[in-house]
């Protein structure tokens, strides 16, 4: 009985740890200042053992952060040194290579002490809106231009916040109140996690986490390995090409399924770019691993053991393994295309599981507003940084349409436009679905969206574009058609580029059409009812219905009648 009894207790404790880190993440959302964290959930939170192995991680959060942060705590232990770890300490960094891939993510780690002894760590990461330098965007030629670099160091020692650090940070960023507020929010969230952990240890009479750590990691490893062992032992290659900054980028992967691991080898991938779209290996690994976990072991919680069998290799100085001092601010662009690349290979091994290509990278932009300079500005005009996250369509799945304007692989949310317009004098004139942008197919790709962005009277702005798929649409699978490309221009027709900082004069708007996901399977096999439904809803126009799906005139007349009568299908 003793053995199974402790088994029941461990089951309870594992559940509890997952609940603890969720509380930790919720505390961060509630106290954060940046819209990227509080509205969009661009964050992660987790608990680690004394060796820096991640035991549990919050469901709230985004894969790039989560899987990258899994490796971060070991770096903190090494850099700080065990002899310098004290009760009441809080550590931080925004090192792209030892944190989560770019300077705009602050990772904070708090050691957890119980009865005077170190028992584990809490870590959390959040995407902040500004870290100085050139501002969030692709334009830097090296990481030095991308903003303030904070090596792994102490934010607080034995409870006292490092005032010198705070002053240096304040002096180097555009929105100091926001950033310092976020740093406090990160520290608070670890503190909340720590309190709950201590309560759990009291309740179960634990002196350390060794037993529960072994239980979690053993069970997770075994479950993951069982899934991998059930796959065919083979390898396959995949590749895709996307816009890049000035020259296209090709991502190549060779996926090899071994008995106890899956190796993603990115040999053959393009080299680093001159501009800030390069990706540190830790971030590429996070998304390769995410893609494989979704397809193979979706319900196994993330921890050190369940992530370990997913290995990545990439030659140094390929764009998925950019090293210091390469510019990496927009590492998410390449990172978000890693899953579609991996799926190109996996589809050859496991047909009928993975989706067609989707919009891929988030369609983000940052607006730097200021009083107009071409004429006298009104006295209430201000400077402001506004960041928004938006999504194109996701790729069609073997049995389902792609999701309209929904992030994949990223896990972040968009911000309400009413909240965005409170963050600064920006006006979002339009944010709605983009008809005809989903690739045709037996299953249709998800629709992208239209956006129109301007400023309040008296302001001009720089528009930091972070888009891809201007020249390289999402490719269909098994006969499905490509999704629509990204388009970007000003409302007077002035040309704009998919990436980089671009000036928008007073009175002008930026007109965006964000990309659609690709279709899956032959459009001729699509159910007539679904085609008619799509037409009625305006997901597709009459021309597309006739061209892509061969809808008859009688069918079209029927839909028109329904439309007039406000009927549903």
């Amino acid at each position: 009985m003793a053995q199974s009894q402790s088994n029941v207790a461990y089951q309870v404790m594992w559940n509890r740890l997952i609940s603890v880190v969720e509380e930790q993440a919720q505390a961060l959302v509630r106290t954060a200042f940046s819209t990227s964290v509080r509205e969009a959930g661009d964050l992660s939170a987790g608990v680690y053992d004394t060796h820096g192995r991640m035991l549990a991680q919050a469901v709230t959060g985004t894969p790039g952060h989560v899987n990258a942060m899994a490796d971060a705590v070991a770096h903190f232990i090494r850099r700080i040194g065990r002899q310098n770890i004290f009760e009441g300490d809080v550590y931080l960094t925004n090192d792209p290579w030892e944190g989560t891939g770019h300077l705009h993510d602050i990772t904070m780690v708090t050691p957890s002490f119980y009865k005077g002894v170190l028992v584990g760590f809490f870590a959390c990461t959040a995407h902040i809106v500004d870290i100085g330098g050139r501002g969030f965007g692709a334009d830097a030629a090296s990481v030095y231009e991308e903003g303030l670099y904070i090596p792994i160091m102490k934010f607080a020692e034995r409870g006292d916040v490092d005032d010198t650090l705070v002053r240096i940070v304040r002096g180097n960023v555009r929105e100091p109140d926001q950033l310092i507020g976020d740093m406090y929010a990160l520290a608070t969230c670890n503190e909340i996690g720590h309190r709950r952990l201590i309560e759990m240890m009291d309740e179960f009479g634990l002196d350390d986490l060794d037993g529960i750590a072994a239980f979690i990691l053993d069970n997770s490893r075994r479950a993951t390995l069982e899934r991998i062992a059930a796959l065919p032992r083979t390898s396959a290659e995949g590749e895709m090409t996307v816009d890049g900054f000035a020259t296209p980028i090709t991502l190549k992967v060779k996926l090899t399924i071994e008995e106890d691991r899956i190796v993603s080898d990115f040999t053959g991938t393009s080299g680093v770019d001159k501009k800030g779209i390069n990706c540190p290996l830790v971030y590429a690994k996070a998304y390769a691993c995410y893609a494989l976990k979704c397809a193979i072991a979706p319900e196994i919680p993330n921890n050190a053991a369940s992530l370990a069998p997913f290995e990545i290799e990439a030659p140094v100085n390929t764009i998925v393994n950019a090293v210091h001092p390469a510019p990496v601010a927009l590492r998410h662009i390449v990172g978000h295309f890693v899953p579609d690349t991996v799926y190109d290979a996996l589809d050859k091994i496991l047909p009928g599981v993975v989706p067609a290509e989707g919009a891929g990278c988030l369609c983000n932009f940052q607006v730097s507003l200021r009083p107009r300079t071409d004429a006298p500005a009104p006295p209430d005009a201000v400077r402001s940084e506004v960041l928004t996250f938006n999504s194109g369509g996701s790729g069609a799945r073997p049995e389902h349409d792609g999701l309209n304007a929904t992030a994949f692989p990223s896990g972040v949310m968009t911000m309400p436009i009413e909240a965005t317009e409170h963050a600064g004098p920006v006006i979002i004139w339009r944010k709605e679905l983009r008809p005809d942008s989903g690739g045709a197919g037996k299953q249709r790709g998800g629709l992208g969206q239209y956006m129109e962005v301007g400023a309040r009277e008296g302001h001009e702005f720089d528009f930091q574009a972070m888009f891809d798929r201007v020249d390289h649409p999402a490719r269909g699978r098994r006969g499905g058609k490509a999704g629509a490309c990204t388009t970007i221009a000003q409302d007077d027709g002035s040309e704009m580029f998919g990436k980089g900082k671009q000036f928008v004069p007073h009175g002008r708007k930026v007109m965006l059409a964000l990309p659609g996901g690709a279709g899956y399977g032959d459009p001729a096999e699509r159910s007539l009812d679904l085609v008619k439904r799509d037409l009625l809803r305006g997901y597709i126009a009459f021309e597309a219905a006739k061209r892509d799906y061969v809808l008859s005139d009688a069918d079209i007349a029927d839909v028109q009648e329904k439309m007039r009568k406000g009927d549903t299908v």
Binding site: M1, Q11, F33, G181, Y184, I192, R196, E299, E432, L433
Partner: protein, 694 residues
Amino acid sequence: MKTSSVRLGVDIGGTFTDVVLEVDGASFSTKVLTTYIAPENAIIDGMQQVCTKAGITPADIGQIIHGTTLATNALIERRGAKTALITTEGFRDVIEMRTESRFEQYDLNLNIPEPLLPRQCRYTVPGRIDATGAELMPLTEADIAPVVEAIAEAGYDSVAIGLIHSYLNDSHEKLVRDVLAKRLPDVMISLSTEVSPQMREYERFNTVVANAYIKPLMKSYLGRLEGRLRDEGVGCNIFLMHSGGGIISLENAAEFPVRLVESGPAGGAVFAANIAARYGLDKVLSFDMGGTTAKICLIKDQTPKTSRVFEVARTYRFKKGSGMPISIPVIDMVEIGAGGGSLAHVDAMRQIRVGPESAGSEPGPACYGRGGDKPAVTDADLVLGKLDPDNFAGGSIKLETAASETALRAVLGDMLDMDAATSAFGLAEVVDENMANAARVHAVENGEDLSEYTMIAFGGAAPLHAGRLCEKLGVERLLVPPGAGVGSAIGFLRAPFSFEANRSVYMKLSDFDADKIKALLGDLKAEATGFVRNCDADSDILSEFKVYMRYTGQGWEIPITLTEAQAMTPNAATFEARFVEDYTKLFGRAVTGMDIEITVWSVNATTPPEKVTEIDAAKPSGDAPIHGSRSLFDPATAEFAEASVVLRDDMIEGAEVTGPAAITEDETTIIVPSSRKAIRQPDGCIDITTKKGA
């Protein structure tokens, strides 16, 4: 005899319609099956039953208070009216695009719930208000006319109007309404600024759409109900329980039916709050566990916690984000898929998982012997000795322990190398831990420490699990009230008339404008009081003032309660001090050097709570008669121990029972763990406390 001392409470639930009649302090109740097609039939049936029991006629009833899941069910089952939305040009798809995210990140086949209204039912008009409430682009009647014509031609019954930033300036929404009402006087109209005047377009639009969608249905139902009751001779006023835990008039309910969502559970919270008042308890956790879900609510100072937004109709394992947000004043509770019928399985990590899939009533848990072969929570309870196989539901269902053991072994034990009893222990521990976690997270979100709380448990399965839950949460005292099976309907009779009015208006403490605040709060007070005055022409009306504050730049506010004096003679220093105090309590440390802002203002008008006579604690009157004994598993020691069995009916005032024990009644069994003892209080509550407190 027609006085308000004869009152009828009616709760329409998913399975049963509960009816409670109180006549001068005496209480008569019944449960009848809910009649989906014409829900009023069950009410009439139930009313006749309790009137007969009490020896009165429907004409003698002085007040009827009604709560219902019909509004919730109409949203879940998508059985609303033909409804259109009119919104701002460029924002046709807000309710479809939601947050542009996936609520379950690892499911490649995830589907997002369809919006209540498909795209062809969503129309747009020009015009634009900005984030300061100023008009950026005008809107004219001529702009609106073509949309109104299209709506006329399509023949919509109900129209929702939701425009960008309307919570700051409602002139455009009102203009659309006026044009629409003039052309189509019979169409029902709902305005987002009236239904939910709060920032965040997705939540606000979804709320107004939900209101419009169920309005024709609810209006017609409420009209029919009133007619049927009048036919039965009922002459009194009929009121509705709303989601915020108060009562509104039938007319207001028909106008804002979305406020009826989750009114049944709200009644349960009011029921618990009333018991809290009886015992003078300021910190109470109400725990309501039925067949498929468990609901947990914090009740501070005898008032249930409220919130401004919640999610209805979750489609994916009760997962956060898989339903639709409704932003209205609501009693804040967590609901998880954990009930007596919740089924267990073993996942890939060899972890026992319980729920949210439920065995329902057919085939039911394995022990019902109706073909269920998966172990449910009830099966575990049976094997652990918490239930008596021969006396379940008053002996009407004979439970088969062997079937439970077989199911537990087959689904859990064989995988995990456990015997049936250990499997049952594991299952019960997991479901109790799930509920404990939900309670903990809820407490943390509200900055509360549960160890100072008392639990009040009701609903069929709650008394079986409440004792263990208290052990897990460090809660020292548990009350199990009588009548727990119809708790919500009793709660309706305890609820005050109330209405909460709120408004989003931004103000930084650095731009503090006392006159503006006085005017705003004055308006809100008048609005809220008006609703309450509709229900009660004479009573005193109390006003509760709440402002939602945050550091400038944060996105989530915390509610700060102000006294009437603090609210109506506002000064910035007081506001700041109150905010810093509550923020520090919630999150550990204040942030220095930041401006503070107020985002939402709210006034809740309510009639004074019913006078409650506090209970004098019962004096111990000796041990309750022991009816027998059985083997009961004690999770604290992980062993079976011999436990006494006591009949609840045998317990006179002050009668004591020492754990481990099972106190049985027809509807349920109260488990007293070995760490606890119980005493019957004068009002019939079974009061369970830790032994060490003796």
